[in-house]
């Protein structure tokens, strides 16, 4: 049984366009389904604003999905009793992109890490202190950091604090929302190492959100590519990188500048067709170099083309390869 | 700098810097300061010449009058050839309708006509008043409020008439008409050419009456020649002005006094001994000398100096702390030890200073005086509530509507069903009888009436129903170029522009 399963989850917003403008429907997340097994990492890639964080928020129940169901160990969240929900809240945690904004600047590290503990458990001072020290040790810090403020620590150290806070309640799943994109490359490596270690140690599941396909590939077992609120491709990470199917995934790979001048690839001259009238149907249509009439009419569905490798694209599935 | 313009060919003009505005120019209603303007535009049947103590009642629109022996019928013979500003002639019918309008509207000082049952225009020049009870109707007809005779141009609808007047229109017989009326801050008066007394001789022909609330501004205006006459400057400025060659200070009794009504129904002051004690504790001299710089005198009883019914030899409390202490001991409070409250009107400089000085004196007797500055509304609201919850001492001024002692003695100390101005809450039927009888005799047997008035005054002084603090003077300041200026105490703060003239 998957740890978490999302079924046809959507989140729609209405947003006023301009000061006097009309309200406009934004499909931040549109009809997505996936599942994640215990102890594995799911990578979620997509460009800014494609709905990654919104999906994470739905999973965390910070916002309610407009439609669809989220199952935790087979149970529908919306039908859970409050006790079970408490349990769920403890089991799913998050680490954000920017460690400086995800830690309250006016709290000491001690207060930050103890917050989840005291919120959920009655615990005396000495027990709390030993627990704090244990957590710090796990993430590679020590008790000297306890009475400091976030601004007195480096970005990497702060991200470790955020991770410590996330694992304080022994969760089963941690959602990592671009946990390294605000960090330097050299620090990123240490955090990625730490995450790998923790996963082994506690048999954690991760949902790793990023727009950097390289990083996602390194850490994930399974990758989902998202575009404009939709999943366009998903599959085992080696598959996705080795044999990308969706044009968007391909472009992500091509546009991703690998620091390897040997493989210096000329960027594809994906001529922008003037597709302003190409609305409806596939979400990627406007930027797609391979758009067809069919794409205009209907939205493609996710189809399993290889084992566990799904793609939503007419061109891939039945298109004539030019 | 801007003197290059030519002054129009006028014999004489005058600027009067007055202290307030003139909220309501309807002569039937006006009851505040409007007489300053109205007395120059309208005239009454009788004129009260306060400087002629023996025979103040002067024929004016009425040349003569008489009354029946019981005092219930009064006949006035009208002057002939008097014209209203619209050119029509003064007739008995106008008199009748003018006074009837005042009575009908029932606002302002209308109550002075309370005794009047009926007004008859006997012929064009004779008016007869039939009364319900005897009243001094000639005096009443000389009142500065509510007795002005308006002419036929007054709109017949009463409310419309009020609006008409307040647009700066008028319908009097007086020497001036409004040329320009800027509500709230100034009035320009120009001469009425066909005034019955004529314009030969020296008369002011154009007048600007400005309301200048700020005393500093009035002082500066008179010093700079911006105003020819003004009044009511802080006494502290008068010293300096005395040395000013261009101005003259004229001080006349104002018929206005400052009282500190003592609550006879409240704890402590319900005891006459304590009332007397605190009457002895008031620093009369300090107030007269320091605060008023001698531009006022200590009161003798409720009727102000110079007015009908004032007696110079009436008993008077003096500042005497020994005596006060003695009385307090008698009352059982040798060391004081209680608190009294005093209310006064916010913004009134004199009341404020008096209150503060008095507080310091009572302190010496061990009495705490709690001073409350209140707006008139709040002050009266408190005072008209339950007397046992009201203030102990209330500072306020009184002045007559028309010149009769009854006005003071009735309003201040006569028994009232509902409190209006008897803030001493003094209910004494003997007193009531004395003044009621005196009032009815006033028109027919003045001497007898005065005698009764005196008895009544002795009674209230004895009972210490009020602190009789000051009889105020009206202090007018005039440029020395202003001639013939003799203020008349019966018409508060009025300058009769027709009488004066200004050197060019």
């Amino acid at each position: 049984m998957p740890l978490i399963e999302a079924k046809n989850v959507s989140k729609h917003y209405y947003k006023r366009k301009g000061f006097f403008g009309k309200k406009e429907l934004i499909k931040a997340v549109d009809n997505v389904s996936f599942s994640i097994e215990k102890g594995t990492t799911l990578g979620l890639v997509g460009e800014t604003g494609c709905g990654k964080t919104t999906l994470a928020k739905c999973l965390l129940r910070l916002i309610n999905p407009t439609s669809g169901a989220i199952l935790f160990k087979g149970k529908d969240l919306s039908k859970m009793k409050s006790e079970e929900l408490d349990d769920y809240h403890r089991s799913v945690q998050i680490v954000f992109q920017n460690p400086f904004t995800s830690l309250n600047p006016r709290m000491t590290i001690r207060n930050i890490i103890s917050e989840p503990i005291i919120t959920h458990k009655k615990i005396n001072k000495t027990e709390l202190e030993t627990e704090l020290v244990r957590l710090l040790k796990v993430v590679g810090l020590n008790e000297t950091h306890l009475s400091r403020y976030p601004h007195e620590l480096s970005g990497g150290q702060n991200q470790r604090v955020a991770i410590a806070r996330a694992i304080a309640l022994n969760p089963e799943l941690i959602i990592l929302d671009e946990p390294t994109s605000a960090l330097d490359v050299s620090v990123q490596a240490t955090i990625l190492n730490l995450l790998n270690e923790l996963q082994k140690q506690f048999n954690l599941s991760y949902i790793f959100i990023s727009h950097d396909l390289g990083v996602v590939r390194f850490i994930s077992d399974y990758i989902i590519v998202m575009y404009s609120g939709k999943f366009v491709e998903m599959g085992p990470s080696e598959d996705i990188l080795g044999q990308p199917l969706h044009p968007y995934t391909k472009m992500l790979l091509l546009a991703l500048p690998l620091p390897d001048p040997k493989k210096k690839i000329e960027l594809i001259q994906h001529q922008m067709k003037a597709l302003e009238d190409w609305r409806g149907g596939c979400v990627f249509l406007q930027k797609c170099p391979y758009g067809m009439e069919l794409c205009k009419k209907e939205e493609p569905e996710m189809v399993e083309v290889r084992e566990k490798h799904f793609v939503a694209c007419y061109y891939t599935i039945k298109g004539d390869r030019r | 700098y801007y003197t290059q313009y030519s002054i129009p060919n006028l014999k004489s003009s005058l600027v009067y810097a007055y202290v307030s505005d003139f909220p309501d120019l309807d002569p039937s209603i006006a009851f505040e300061d409007e007489q300053v303007i109205l007395a120059n535009m309208y005239e009454a049947l009788v004129f009260y010449n306060a400087s002629n103590t023996n025979n103040p009642l002067t024929p004016w629109l009425a040349t003569s009058w008489s009354h029946s022996p019981d005092g219930l019928e009064w006949t006035f013979n009208l002057r002939k050839g008097v014209l209203f500003h619209d050119g029509s002639e003064l007739k008995a019918s106008s008199v009748k309708s003018a006074i009837e309008r005042t009575i009908r509207m029932g606002l302002g000082a209308a109550y002075i006509w309370d005794a009047v049952k009926e007004i008859q225009a006997v012929d064009d020049y004779t008016v007869k008043f039939v009364l319900d009870y005897p009243a001094p109707l000639a005096q009443i007809a000389s009142s500065q409020y509510g007795a002005w005779i308006t002419g036929p141009s007054t709109p017949s609808n009463d409310t419309q008439a009020t609006e008409w007047f307040n647009q700066g229109k008028d319908s009097g017989t007086g020497p001036y008409m409004i040329e320009k009326y800027e509500a709230g801050f100034q009035v320009v008066l120009a001469k009425f050419d066909k005034y019955w007394k004529g314009w030969s001789g020296n008369h002011v022909e154009k007048v600007l009456v400005k309301s200048v609330r700020d005393p500093t501004a009035r002082l500066q205006a008179i010093k700079a020649g911006e105003a020819d006459i003004t009044l009511d400057l802080p006494v502290d400025y008068l010293e300096e002005l005395k040395t000013n060659e261009n101005v003259r200070i004229i001080s006349v009794p104002s018929y206005r006094n400052l009282l500190g009504m003592i609550n006879t129904k409240q704890a402590y002051t319900d005891n006459v001994l304590i009332r007397q004690a605190i009457s002895y504790a008031f620093p009369y001299d300090a107030v007269v000398k320091n605060v008023m710089q001698e531009y006022a005198t200590q009161s003798r009883g409720p009727i102000p100096v110079g007015m009908l019914g004032h007696f110079e030899d009436l008993t008077q409390y003096t500042y005497n702390l020994e005596k006060a202490k003695q009385l307090l001991s008698q009352a059982g409070y040798p060391n004081g030890g209680f608190t009294l409250t005093l209310t006064y009107t916010s913004g009134d400089e004199l009341e404020k200073q008096v209150a503060e000085l008095y507080k310091a004196e009572l302190e010496k007797l061990g009495i705490t005086l709690e001073i409350k500055e209140m707006t008139t509304k709040a002050k009266y609201a408190l005072a008209r509530g339950d007397p046992t919850q009201a203030q102990h001492i209330l500072l306020f001024y009184w002045w007559p509507t028309y010149i009769t002692p009854y006005d003071f003695l009735y309003s201040l100390f006569h028994t009232e069903k509902k409190v209006i101005f008897n803030f001493a809450y003094y209910y004494n039927s003997t007193y009531d009888d004395l003044i009621d009888t005196a009032s009815q005799l006033e028109g027919t047997d003045l001497n007898k009436a005065l005698q009764l008035y005196r008895q009544a005054q002795e009674q209230v002084v004895e009972d210490a129903t009020s602190l009789f603090i000051l009889d105020m003077d009206t202090i007018m300041i005039a440029n020395k170029k202003v001639h013939n200026f003799n203020p008349n105490s019966a018409y508060t703060e009025v300058v009769f522009f027709y009488d004066v003239w200004v050197e060019a």
């Binding site: 928020k57 965390l60 910070l62 408490d86 809240h89 403890r90 799913v92 945690q93 998050i94 954000f96 992109q97 920017n98 904004t101 995800s102 830690l103 309250n104 600047p105 006016r106 000491t108 917050e115 989840p116 919120t119 959920h120 009475s147 400091r148 403020y149 601004h151 007195e152 955020a162 806070r165 309640l169 | 700020d214 005393p215 500093t216 002082l219 500066q220 802080p234 502290d236 400025y237 300096e240 300090a286 320091n290 605060v291 916010s346 913004g347 400089e349 404020k352 200073q353 209150a355 503060e356 000085l357 507080k359 310091a360 001073i371 409350k372 500055e373 209140m374 707006t375 709040a378």
Partner: protein, 293 residues
């Protein structure tokens, strides 16, 4: 365990303020007035006159060694009264601002954080209050409550709190999007706890700046009310009242109205300058219009 560690912001603030000579000067003035008002009865030359005891024989003495600011219309030492007046003005300032903050800030934070209907209702109410010309409203209020220092303070507080509600709401709306708030929500911390544990401390900076500036506005407003006779009542040594009483003596005995007014000016200036510096240092973006005496 709770070692006093100043947050970075506070440290920066202190340093910047130390460098800002005007801010230091204004702080000095404020401190001076606070000390002077606390110890007023012990340091003024004539304490009883400060409280209102008349000395009729010493009226209108010009400034001299004995009476450095001269004497007033009842012979009282103006210096003593001005110093006593500092107590009133500072108290008024603190009272009005504190009441406004205590009412406004929690409301604003709650509205901003919870949003939805709560927000709608609370903010419509503040909108209504904000749309009154505040001083006019305060005047109408005092005029009906009856003049007096306390009523004036109450009226000013009533007209003031919506500014804080709005400010706090704006803060809450931005801060609640901060990831650290989300993090606490994920942990399962309850709404009100988040408001007071996380939002409040982080929203405080502009509120403090505003509070400092409003000290001066409140003092000015109260002095203005007293000046027209709606605030403090004689013989209170309230500054506005003293200027008002002294006004008619301006041209002859200038010292009597001038010194109390100068005191108002100085205190208001000090608080405004200090607030201005604070704002420059902390919060260049917050701004507010209106509120003139």
């Amino acid at each position: 365990m709770n070692k006093l560690t100043l947050s970075k912001e506070t440290k920066i603030t202190l340093k910047l303020i130390k460098r800002d000579k005007l801010a230091m000067l204004s702080l000095l003035i404020i401190t001076f007035f606070i000390i002077v008002s606390i110890f007023a009865p012990f340091i003024v030359p004539y304490p009883s006159q400060g409280e209102g005891l008349p000395v009729p024989e010493k009226r209108f003495l010009p400034p001299s060694f004995e009476n450095p600011f001269g004497t007033d219309y009842l012979g009282r030492d103006v210096l003593s009264r001005v110093i006593f007046g500092a107590r009133i003005s500072l108290f008024v300032g603190i009272f009005v601002v504190c009441v406004a903050i205590i009412i406004g800030v929690p409301l604003g934070l709650i509205a901003g954080y919870f949003g939805g209907k709560v927000d709608d209702v609370l903010m419509r109410i503040t909108d209504v209050f904000l749309s009154f010309p505040s001083l006019l409203f305060a005047i109408a209020l005092v005029a009906t409550l009856g003049p007096g220092l306390f009523n004036a303070m109450i009226s000013l507080s009533i007209t003031w709190w919506p500014w804080y509600a709005r400010l706090a709401r704006a803060q809450a709306v931005t801060i609640k999007e901060q990831p650290y708030i989300l993090a606490s929500q994920v942990i399962g911390v309850k709404g009100l706890t988040i408001v007071f544990r996380h939002l409040l401390p982080n929203a405080l900076t502009p509120i403090i700046v505003q509070g400092t500036m409003d000290m001066s506005s409140a003092i000015l407003a109260e002095a203005g009310l007293s000046f027209i006779g709606l605030g403090a009542q004689a013989p209170s040594p309230e500054w506005g009242l003293m200027v008002s009483t002294g006004r008619i003596y301006l041209l002859n005995y200038w010292w009597f109205p001038v010194f109390p007014g100068l005191a108002i000016f100085l205190v208001a200036l000090a608080f405004n300058l200090f607030g201005d510096s604070l704002r420059d240092v902390l919060d260049p973006k917050s701004r507010k219009a209106g509120g003139q005496m």
